[in-house]
């Protein structure tokens, strides 16, 4: 039997009181070890998702069909790198380092969002990612602006502003395609058909299978359950799809008057688990590309460190 030292009991009481009062835990505050490690895991995964998430969109930068769209897409991918940097810094307040986290990403010990293991096959996918993937991300992330850990909550405020902008751009891209030529309309519909279900999977497993949910909600890291957020997302998307003039690929999707929500079909959780396990269409490609960029950049980082050492400047 473990005896809790009186000092630690007092710290834990103070922590619980802060969380209960909806105040913020800051880096120097005492926190339970499990709270710290949960946050590191979640923030690292979030940061990794921003970095890996650059790839499916960067895939279209050199082929963007107009200079305006090209500029928008470049700016978006740049924002994602910025979000990654921001989140790694926030995670570093918990006593880890960016290098350590990147190493865990490269060796497969930490994950990134399963959505980025799907390929961008046409230009319309750039729009579908903006509308659906960023839309799902925002639905997930807006409540994180009230997360109990201060640095994470503040990072999310900034990130969500940019994400909403991206989402509107994606929607506008799809709207242009949908109202364009027949070929463009078909391209938009095809992209929505391919991205709809993977976007719903972004909210994670159903509540009764979600391993970390209860504890995260008690700690106010999470504010709503996976299924709650997923439902909210579906309710938002259905009228938007109608406004776009596009359909969603779900024959069971129907308004339920009693619930005041849309009912929707069942998600293919086998596919979800396979993608998480590394067997999605692009898992191998995404992580290899990331490792390759890191390895090929090693001599550059070494040069910067050597130069800084010679000239007495702080370097990474």
């Amino acid at each position: 039997m473990t005896t809790i030292a009186p000092e630690e009991a007092a710290q834990e009481a103070a922590f619980d009181a802060t969380v209960a009062a909806d105040e913020r835990i800051e880096p120097r505050d005492w926190m339970p070890e499990a709270y710290r490690s949960t946050l590191v895991r979640q923030m690292a995964q979030h940061a990794h998702s921003e970095i890996i998430g650059m790839q499916p969109e960067a895939n279209w930068i050199t082929r963007a069909p107009s200079l305006r769209r090209k500029a928008i897409l470049m700016a978006k991918v740049q924002d994602e790198a910025g979000h990654g940097l921001y989140l790694y810094s926030a995670a570093e307040t918990l006593g880890t380092s960016r290098d350590e986290l990147l190493d865990k990403l490269h060796s497969g010990r930490q994950k990134y969002s399963s959505i980025f293991n799907y390929p961008t096959l046409t230009w319309a996918d750039v729009g579908a990612i903006g509308w659906l993937v960023d839309g799902a991300a925002i639905t997930n992330q807006v409540p994180l602006c009230r997360c109990s850990y201060g640095p994470y909550a503040r990072a999310m405020v900034r990130i969500c502003k940019e994400e909403s902008f991206h989402q509107r751009q994606g929607y506008e891209l799809l709207l242009t395609l949908s109202r364009g030529t027949d070929a463009q309309h078909a391209m938009a519909q095809d992209a929505v058909d391919r991205w709809w279900w993977p976007s719903l999977m972004m909210f994670g497993p159903p509540d009764d299978e979600s391993a970390h949910s209860a504890q995260s909600m008690a700690w106010k890291i999470k504010r709503h359950s996976n299924d709650e957020l997923r439902q909210r997302f579906v309710d938002i998307c259905v009228p938007q799809a109608e406004a776009l003039g596009l359909t969603l690929p779900d024959p069971d999707l129907v308004w339920n008057e009693d619930r005041g929500h849309y009912d929707f079909g069942s998600i293919d959780w086998t596919e979800f688990r396979e993608v998480l396990k590394g067997n999605g269409p692009c898992n191998e490609q995404r992580i290899n590309r990331r490792r390759q960029a890191h390895e090929e950049g090693a001599w550059v980082r070494e040069a910067a460190a050597a130069h800084a050492a010679k000239h007495g400047k702080a370097g990474r």
């Binding site: 069909p65 200079l67 090209k70 470049m74 740049q78 463009q184 960029a293 980082r301 070494e302 040069a303």
Partner: protein, 230 residues
Amino acid sequence: MPLGDDALILSHRLGEWAGQAPVLEEEVALANIALDLLGQARVLLSLAGDEDELAYLREEREFRNLQLVEQPNGDFAHTIARQLYFSTFQELLFEQLASGDTELAPLARKAVKEVAYHRDHATQWTLRLGDGTDESHTRMQRALDALWRFTGEMFEPLAGLETLPWATFHDVWTTRITATVEQATLRLPEGPQRGAWTAGAGRQGLHTEPFGRLLAEMQHLHRSHPGATW
């Protein structure tokens, strides 16, 4: 239009780095420079006509960009050498245009601030790589040497801008590049800055082989849907 093509094509090359940079800070920096250049390209091309028609519907022989900016990214040192050579030139040119009264003056006044940042970024990396490790020193020197033969073309007077001090540009450019290169413990490349061994001059629509492939990728989607809006 030649200046618009320079910015357009170099921006495209930098866009190829997205997701592949050696550090996250460089993802942001390279994309930032690419965006600045794309912004310049859009203004410059719009002065000559419809930006998308000019970017997406011209053939290789109709582009007037420098051969320097179409050169493949190579390793990070090659990208930095290309940036150093070009941004040092562009800064001189835009400083001059900003104080003039041509139709390019308003653009130049805005762009000169961006370009000063680009030149500083390239200079700082030239110093880090040149005066970093043995490997980075070797790579940086190799990159400076490899791209040197494309630098002469920058100083050919452009149609409509013949009155600019092109010879002075060359002198000041050489002075500035020499200072950076020496501070980076590197040496100024030897050999001609242009010559019969280059295919021709980009300014006359004579490009190097990688350029056609760049255009094929850039224009493919736009050309597949004639008349569509995006």
